[in-house]
Amino acid sequence: MELRSLVDLAAGECGRVQRIAAGANATKRLYEMGFNTGAQVRVMKNDFGPLIVALEGNKIALGRGLAEKMLVKKLERL
């Protein structure tokens, strides 16, 4: 299974969270906010500054540094 960083997904692409390699506190916070193992995210904006991702229909802004450490499995559109 090929993992890639969330920042490598373009706007409109989806992925499933597999692992977060950030610090313990940040990782737990993300997990608790719903970015836990298997959570499906869709990148809504990824051009400049923080990313905006959709999670269960909600929008969350994530700093680039953090998004880099979030490893996802990219989901191909059917």
Binding site: K28, M33, I60, G63
Partner: protein
Amino acid sequence: MSKTIALVGNPNSGKTTLFNALTGSNHHVGNWPGVTVEKKVGYVRHGGVDYEIVDLPGTYSLGAYAEDERIAREFILSQGADVVINVVDATNIERNLYLTTQLLEMNVKVVLALNMVDEAEAKQIKVDLAGISERLGVPVVPTVASRRKGIDILLDTAADLINAPLNGRPHITYGEDLDGKLARLQDLLDGLRLDYPRQWLALQLLEGDGYAERLMQENEVLKSSQELAAFLSELKPRAEQYQLEIVDYRYRFISEVTADTVCRPDEAVPTLTDKIDKIVTHKYFGLPIFALIMLGVFQLTFAIGEELLGGIVAGWIGVLGEFVTGGLSTMGAPEWLISFLSEGVFAGLGAVVEFVPLIVVLYMLMGFLEDSGYMARAAYVMDNIMRAVGLQGKSFISMLVGFGCNVPGVMATRTLENKKDRMIAILINPFMSCGAKIPIYLVFIGAFFPEHGGLVMFSVYGLGIIVALLMGKLFSATLFKGEVSHFILELPPYRKPTLRNVLRNMWDNVSGFLVRAGTVIFAVVSLLWILAVLPTGVEPYGPASILGRIGTFVAPIFRPAGFGTWQAAVGLFSGIAAKESVVATLGMVYAGVDSGVELIEAIRSVFTPLTAVSFMVMTLLYTPCVATLGTIKKETGSTKWMAFSAVYTFVLGWFAAVLVYRVGLLLGFA
């Protein structure tokens, strides 16, 4: 006997709106003991019983690593509430239920208020209420807090639950391995005297929760259990991994609950929120749009607050002042009393109170923006700039709060988890021009720039932001080096602000302003009046009075900035008590009863447009008021940082004012 209901919920779940709907206007805002997190308590009478409603801080989790989470958790665990209302955003059930699972683990009585069901319906989200209720083992009540729907049923349900015994809880499994460890921990805890539910404590210990561990160490009984201590140290190295596993299992439980009780439309269609966000978070247009919105807010504040309403209140104060002093002198009241009232109270306090309409309008507009959901976008577009100076977008939220008042602004830095971010955000917050400074700018704008009020205000606020950013850069490069913390911020969907929320937000601020006028500023005004008429025999408010002599002694400091008069010096120093005092003092020393018009005329004869600008710059930047300094001391836990903050802002303000004045002179302004 009144009963206590606690409100818990995620940020943006509509918890505050529900609190407002439950309590009407009957509430007060204070602090949690020992900390400066805001505590809101409201009261409602329902079915013949009085209820106290405690609004706990909005959090995603009831862990223990942020202060607000700890407060919420502690309140619930200490049996502070007879029942907990868990506010859940109906459009976002899965993620909101995370907090619910933690409540279930705590084994307390919970009612689920499924809020914003109207929005969920609009998004074609179908929810099986009975099904969710059955699986969670808690009653579920649909509500629309913004339109006060479901409020009565919610209170009925909460009341029933208070009187009912605690029901059985659904079993949440954390997987075979962890369940086994939990069972072992519970066994070891068995028989010990504990203030917390055993099952919950076991879970916290497994997660390596610092608070629970400290509890163990402090508890004498536990010292005796060698076996427990050994098991805990065995678990310790893998606590981080267990934490994440537990989160995953909680979400697994949630997905079992929602699998066939919540149904969403398959394809997410771009919503209006998405369309608006495309524009306001745009990589080039985002910032200019934010600037335009703020400019618009200030222009509107002036158009409505000043031109439409401003004169009216000033007129009333003038009429009232003349009526009172006129009446008193015909009744033969002593001269000093009349002097105190006309030259002290009406001139001083009147100069402050007449700006109430403006402040009302400004806070209503800011409240409108806040309630609409735009503020999170402002933090988003500011993240890049904030990052460039070594901060992050979330710090900007505490700065925005500082526009209202620096005291909650400094408190709002609590949401910053990183110590470095937090210290810098605290130290730069005073540069965010607070509501109390508005009257000062208004007097000078009225005297010199009446045509460009909105623009001048916008520039002053803008300058405050720029100075804050520059100082932030300086601090992060010198005093507080280290990594920038991560930016995680939910962007809630845009909502139509409710009048109730906007009015209440306005009133919380304006009432604070009025209370200060009645207390601190009144005290300052009284003291200044005494100093201004003593020693007996001198011309009141003259340079020979005590006030005049103090001012004359200090004034030379400000000569390089162009406003070296004793009156300006006294005004600035009185402003450290509360910023409104600057205007109150100027009103007293320069004017009589009709402070509004007279003060502006007096200012015009003493200041020039250039010295007015340098004075405004000084007021913007110099030493924060005592309330803010006190908060800085509390939040940083250090007198040293408080003193640092008081001194460096003064020095900075002085240099900036001198710079403005000198450069202005060179450029030929007067």
